[in-house]
Symmetry: C2
Subunit: 612 residues, 2 copies
């Protein structure tokens, strides 16, 4: 099979001349079914096996990986993901996500863009201190990374935040495509090279030994110029070179070629790690990322659920599962250190906090990804699940076994609830457990069968809530097509004071939100509102999500465009009554916004200290 040439059916012209190019491909048993599916070694569904831990994660040195097949996963959910519309997270939420990313075994966590606002700086600092000093399995500690544009102030802010981590990294970038240099930077090529060189050197000089550099819009940059600037930043001390396809413009072969050419032509490239960062504008980010890895990139930048601006980034779960399922066979033996059993929980947490929902047919983590239209199995075919399932749900943490686990009823006690939540992957105790228990009891009284999904919804509602400023006590509504919708709301403030107000509106939610506004008196705009029933049946728990923007807005600086952006805040609420669930979500979003405000007030800084 050295060379195969295909001809066009009509013209007879050769369409594509194929030569296997990856040396790993030569020895594989391509198209041979037998050894392909890792599931064959796991016939029991009740005992999930973490196959990823077969190989140990190599020790971390910034510019070197001892095992040539190991690929680092760099997660930028908290930076690139969080800057997407409406995805603003509070400091507590960011810390939760960072902890989850550490559980997942992400090699590098990009925790934020510290120069964008004081709130961002504080969040990155907290993550560096807490998560960047944790000790996880096998002595692994994640690298904590902060983004900085190529200027001293940004780099100082980034270092101020990440230096508390055991393994701190600064990630600095400047655009290198003609269109960006001309229209955004208004700088010449030489000026851009000098800026990049001097700022990488500056980051090293202040004590950071792990410095990543990105030539923004690399996908549309002149390759000769890329080799040059990358060579210069290597000399200046960069340890990782990240190649972003900023506008999601490339196709896989093209992006793979770009990585291969950079590896072939950049002076000194043998002393650094090459990284990919692929946007998804044409739906090709996962394929581009894998093409980059096959061409020699050993760090892949991804986000949970593929969130990010516009069409988002390559998604962690797709890239990691493709490497896990096909790495041995067709992707050069590449592997990652990700514990895939935490994928589903990570996906749910990020969906919850970012307010960016996942479509049912999203690969790996969508609700339908493992669902088959329920049917009568006529020929026992589905006993052999591999006929239509290439990944077992257990591999990503969807444990079917749990369905026959602990069953809760309305007489179940606090301890049973705690045990059940642990089974579902949540460790809770103290006040959180108390609050959840009372919510659980009130649902158990109304609903015969309490499912795992019900519990997870209540859990999200309780645990994923921001620190409260206002708390909903009661709401009462009259509405319908015959009369004016009227709502009465009772809220409790941080000092325990009760506040009651009523309002009319165009519908029950409008009326209730107006009543809340009369009490809270913070002008906001409701940007988005959505609701889902989390379980089947008419008596399901409804989970509501809202997105608001304060009229005296919180702002931060956008990393790439340099624009001042208005922060928006999401809130979620769960209840069997959709009006109550809607009000809980709204109060949650208000609390989130006010926590932001409080943090800034505490630091005695003006709101949203934007950087120009």
């Amino acid at each position: 099979m050295a060379s195969i040439t295909a001809n066009h059916p009509i013209s007879g012209n050769p369409l594509i001349s194929f030569r296997p190019k990856n040396p790993f491909l030569q020895t594989q048993t391509l198209f041979n079914f037998k050894p392909s599916n890792p599931k064959h070694s796991n016939s029991s569904f009740s005992i999930p096996i973490v196959r990823c831990s077969i190989r140990r994660r190599p020790e971390y040195t910034p510019n070197h990986i001892p095992d040539p097949n190991y690929v680092r996963i760099f997660d930028t959910t908290l930076r690139d993901g969080e800057q997407s519309p409406g995805a603003t997270m509070t400091t507590k939420e960011k810390l939760d996500v960072a902890r989850q990313l550490a559980k997942l075994g992400v090699d590098i966590i990009e925790a934020g863009f510290p120069a964008s606002s004081e709130a961002d700086l504080e969040a990155v600092k907290l993550i560096a201190k807490e998560v960047g000093n944790g000790v996880y399995e096998e002595g692994y500690v994640p690298v904590i990374c902060g983004l900085a544009r190529c200027n001293k102030r940004d780099i100082d802010k980034a270092w101020e935040a990440v230096k508390y981590a055991k393994k701190p990294r600064i990630h600095t970038f400047i655009a290198t495509s003609e269109i960006h240099m001309n229209y955004k930077l208004k700088m010449s090529r030489d000026e851009v090279v000098e800026k990049a060189r001097s700022m990488v050197a500056y980051a090293r000089s202040i004590g950071c030994e792990d410095v990543e550099f990105s030539p923004e819009d690399a996908g549309r940059s002149d390759p000769e110029f890329l080799y040059h600037i990358l060579g210069e930043v290597i000399k200046a001390g960069a340890t990782t070179l990240n190649i972003p396809d900023t506008v999601g413009y490339t196709v896989p072969e093209e992006f793979g070629q770009l990585i291969a050419k950079i590896k072939a032509n950049t002076p000194g490239v043998e002393d650094v790690i090459i990284s990919t960062h692929c946007q998804n504008d044409l739906g090709l980010s996962t394929a581009n990322t894998l093409a980059g890895a096959c061409a020699g990139a050993r760090q892949l930048e991804v986000t949970i659920n593929g969130i990010g601006e516009r069409a988002g980034n390559a998604s962690l779960e797709e890239v990691v599962m493709a490497l896990k399922c096909r790495g041995e066979q067709v992707l050069g033996g590449l592997y990652t250190g990700i514990n895939t059993q935490h994928i589903l929980m990570s996906s749910k947490m990020v969906e919850e906090y970012s307010g960016l929902h996942v479509q049912p047919h999203k690969a790996i983590v969508g609700a339908n990804a493992f669902a088959h239209e329920s049917g009568i199995h006529q020929d026992g075919m589905l006993k052999h699940k591999d006929t239509y399932e290439i990944i077992s749900p257990e591999d990503i943490g969807l444990n079917r076994a749990n369905e026959s686990g602990i069953v809760l009823g309305k007489l179940s006690g606090r301890h049973a609830l705690q045990a059940k939540m642990l089974e579902l992957g949540y460790e809770i105790e103290g006040k959180e457990l108390d609050d959840l228990f009372w919510r659980f009891k009130s649902v158990a009284e109304k609903k015969k069968k309490i499912t795992d999904d019900d519990l997870i919804a209540l859990m999200s509602d309780e645990v994923f809530q921001p620190q409260f400023v206002w708390q909903l006590q009661n709401v009462q509504v009259t509405c319908g097509s015959l009369g004016l919708s009227t709502a009465t709301v009772k809220l409790i403030d941080a000092d325990g004071q009760e506040h009651i107000s009523c309002s009319v509106g165009t519908g029950p939610v409008d009326a209730a939100y107006k009543a809340v506004d009369l009490i809270v008196k913070v002008p906001v705009t409701l940007l988005e509102y959505s609701m889902n029933a989390v379980t089947q049946g008419i008596d399901a728990i409804a989970s509501t999500r809202v997105l608001i923007r304060g009229e005296n807005g919180h702002t931060s600086t956008h990393a790439l465009t340099g624009e001042t952006v208005h922060r928006t805040f999401s809130g979620t609420g769960a209840d069997m009554d959709i009006v109550i669930s809607s009000v809980r979500a709204y109060v949650g979003a208000l609390n989130k916004m006010m926590s932001f405000r409080k943090l800034l007030a505490k630091n005695n800084k003006p709101e949203g200290s934007a950087v120009i």
Copy 2:
């Protein structure tokens, strides 16, 4: 740049030996920014230009395309998409989608699987008659295709349905992977070949001149066996050979190789069209499809929004826009006949009818795909939109110009509304216009600014509704955390009779749905419930979607597994009051289910005539 070898930074071993393999790549100006973006030729935002029609669509002959660069788009939204969980559409809805696909310029519409149920057969027949005989721009008429397993009964049913079209096609398939042949078919290789050969010949013998054959699970089949069976069906008269990656298992290079090898090794392949059909389980379907096209496939099977079972199929919009944006430059000059300006409307219609929502960061059609976090443009950079935007929104039918188009207020008349709807892409008149007008008036009285999105939501609610059996007249609700939720509902039946009922429930929706159940008396299970505000602001219109399954279920046969599946029905409703919107959706879903029932009753057939 004949050969570039990249070495691993540490080991020094060659990682990938790159040789440009596509002859088209040799002449391109890769990485050179200038000529890349087609938008450069379209500086005016107010006059959208349909660039796709620059080249004429070649004339249709089943097994031959006169222009070697033309790629056929085969849409299977109505077959593969519609069989995904909850995506059941009524005959009217299927006809609407088929008409929209014809507007879009899809070459082949796979309209259904006629043997799966009488309802499917009727729908395919109707589409063949109506859409398969329309005459569209440049004399184009879409091919109408029906799916059939490799047996005479299925093929007869398919022919019975599609034969009314000007260009009918039968698509038959049988599995060719060891795992499927052993566990599902329980047939030997020879038996499978004989079955395929004889059934393709049978389809030709009954008068169908356009026959497509698919070896199911081709991605996991022995390639030598594939060449053999494909060669046999070509001899038997197949005109298109479709290569499905049924389990979404392959990576792009591997799938491209498979297509190239089939083109190189299958006897007689020069007389047929090779097609791709890629599932998205690893998030690689778009890349795999493009790899197939680059390797010589000239038909691409896709669905709108990428819907389909599990993680769905390659999505039409991603594949088409990638070819449009990068076809000239890096994809061998390939092009399609799709009028991309209808993409957005097609996406919204399929989202509405299938009940499968699209995530905000979905490439091309997601709500954020063209949204940037709103910001203060500090340096005028965004005047040059190409810095971050590779596709202009107008290209897919998102017309920013409309914002300054006709503005409606509460004094606007019927004619202004009709003109506005036409501007938004909807042609309505008669009763539909009347109904919409009264809904519009009632919203206009409560809401100052009526946005395009408001109108589209009302339109969806009116026009995308199934024929009504029950109609909601009034609903009134009292609820809240203090008391028992109580709802009163007044419905009107098909004969104009009023029915009133009341019920209590765990929340306002539960109460209202129970009141509806007391009137309608058809036992159903509510499977899913979701709601979205379609515009910003607290007084937005809320759009609700529900999914139900009748307890005396409608069934059909699943094309691939052969299982009997229970049909589920979605309904949508829009109103400023979330309770009213919820009840409208529920009544809509009940009507959809009962329309299905009526059709079957009319044909005097038992419900859900499943085929074994």
